[in-house]
């Protein structure tokens, strides 16, 4: 089942003025696997994410996305919204970005914008109430309902997203990203601010997304219990460069990783070491 690489990042460099945020970073993510990007604060992880999802134009390097059918897309050449639409890369944000004044269901409907837009004949068919659009809208609601059920928010479907509890908002954001039916799901600290029980539920959800939907996952996370539990492959960054990569076990025992964390933040270093013991 598991095939080749879905994402190949080659010598990615991102400079802001004189500051080098990411330097010659190369790594790849396998299809239907969870790849984690970890590192101390300020290591450049979110910058990598923003380059992959098109919010930043990389200063140098290549980002290649390969689909199941062998189609390869150069992400660094696409605009942000085309990356989501054509390359099928979805993402969540470190500080949740839902549409707070819209209901949970509406949030998931917006995620299916491009499908619905085509079905509505770019609005004209929809305006006259064409049956093709009505059936498309119904299946969109069904998909949204299925995801709401999946993340345990079905009873909150008609509540404003901004009214949901923090953990619920995190899960809704993942459901919204999944409604775009992505090939690669990029999650920026999905466990931030969650309690232990919620983190465990999140791990379960992510594993089921990988196994049942065959979606590849790229993950930035500080919660080592989540990272170590669900990652198939871990890439460690520090100061914009890759310092190690491998399986959770390999990374955990790598002295360079421990040194990087010790140098940066004692608490996080402890977390890495504890999860190893």
């Amino acid at each position: 089942m598991s095939g080749g690489r879905i994402l190949n990042v080659d010598r990615l460099t991102m400079r802001f003025g004189g500051i080098v945020a990411v330097q010659d970073l190369s790594f790849s993510a396998e299809q239907r696997k969870v790849t984690a990007l970890i590192g101390p604060n300020g290591a450049g992880k979110t910058t990598v994410f923003n380059c992959i999802t098109g919010f930043y134009k990389p200063t140098g390097g290549a980002i290649r996305l390969t689909h199941d059918d062998g189609r390869t897309i150069a992400l660094e050449r696409l605009n942000d919204f085309r990356i989501a639409r054509q390359a099928k890369v979805a993402r969540t944000f470190q500080n949740i970005r839902l549409f707070p004044g819209m209901t949970a269901l509406e949030n998931l409907m917006v995620a299916q914008h491009n499908t619905l837009m085509r079905a509505s004949g770019f609005t004209f068919l929809g305006l006259i109430g064409a049956p093709t659009y009505r059936s498309a809208e119904k299946s969109a609601i069904d998909l949204a309902t299925a995801w709401l059920k999946r993340v345990g928010l079905l009873d909150r479907a008609d509540d404003a997203a901004g009214n949901l509890a923090y953990g619920d908002q995190r899960r809704l954001e993942i459901a919204r990203a999944m409604c775009t039916e992505p090939a690669l799901l990029c999650l920026d600290e999905p466990a931030a601010g969650l309690n232990a029980r919620e983190s465990a539920a999140l791990s379960e959800l992510l594993l089921s997304i990988r196994d049942e939907h065959g979606t590849s996952i790229l993950l930035i996370e500080h919660d080592m219990s989540v990272v170590m539990e669900i990652s198939d492959h871990i890439v460690v960054m520090d100061h914009g460069v890759k310092i190690a990569e491998g399986t959770p076990r390999e990374v955990r025992d790598d002295p360079r990783v421990i040194a990087a964390y010790l140098g940066a933040d004692e608490e996080e270093a402890m977390a890495v070491m504890e999860s190893g013991s």
Binding site: T46, N50, F55, F93
Partner: protein, 305 residues
Amino acid sequence: MDYFAQQLINGLVLGSIYGLIAIGYTMVYGIVGMINFAHGDIFMIGGFIALITFLILVSLGLTAVPVILLVVLLVAMAITALYGWTVERIAYRPLRHSFRLAPMLSAIGMSFVLMNYSQVAQGARVKPIPPLITGGHTLHESADGFVVQLSNVQILVVVTTIVLLSIFTWLVSHTRLGRDMRACEQDQTMAALLGVDVDRTISMTFVIGAALAAVAGLMYLLYYGLVDFFMGFVAGIKAFTAAVLGGIGSLPGAMLGGLAIGLIETFWSAYFSVEYKDVAAFSILIVVLIFMPTGLLGRPEVEKV
């Protein structure tokens, strides 16, 4: 060449007046983050107060021009500053933490109030005054008889602008008030925690902005020799355009934008058509913003993702 030089002088003088008004827009925007739509009308009020003070002084038998100018300047600045303070107090302060469009609508309302207040109080007709400062200097005379003139009023406008800008720059960079203002610009909550009186600082911003607008009002009165209740609208839009062109929130940008608008307007009138000078100014604003979305000197907005 001489014609060009003359237009350059005229453009710089007009630009100075726009710049003085633009500073008020940019300061308020920097600190409160709102467009003070009523600022153009504060400028108009400043012009009226200068005119009335001037009339009173002349009727009291004062003839020494420097004394008249100084008194008019001080009275206009003081009373107009109080207008700025009152407007902030009544129309903006209750809406400080409200949603963004509310203070803007309130400001548009306040602009209507001030405009029609002076129409009701002083009548709709244009109010002219005899030229107070006459004479000038011939800078150059070309063979075909074209004379490049620098009038004393023009010198006064430019010199006053430079002096006030120097004082103002010193105020912002060297005094406690300036430091408080910059702190509020960065982060109001943090500034308040560190003991900055945010309310007072914002009030002072409006007071200083209005005082500079009053100076611009006086300069306008001296340069054009008239005021009317509607002049604040057009000048206000131009000055706001100048502030945005220079990069709103940036003080040097406001002055630069003011000069740019003044020069564009003057040169367009001189070489193309007077009728379309405002169209030219607005079009150039749009073109500049297409290529530099935060204006000439504005800090580029880094998108936080």
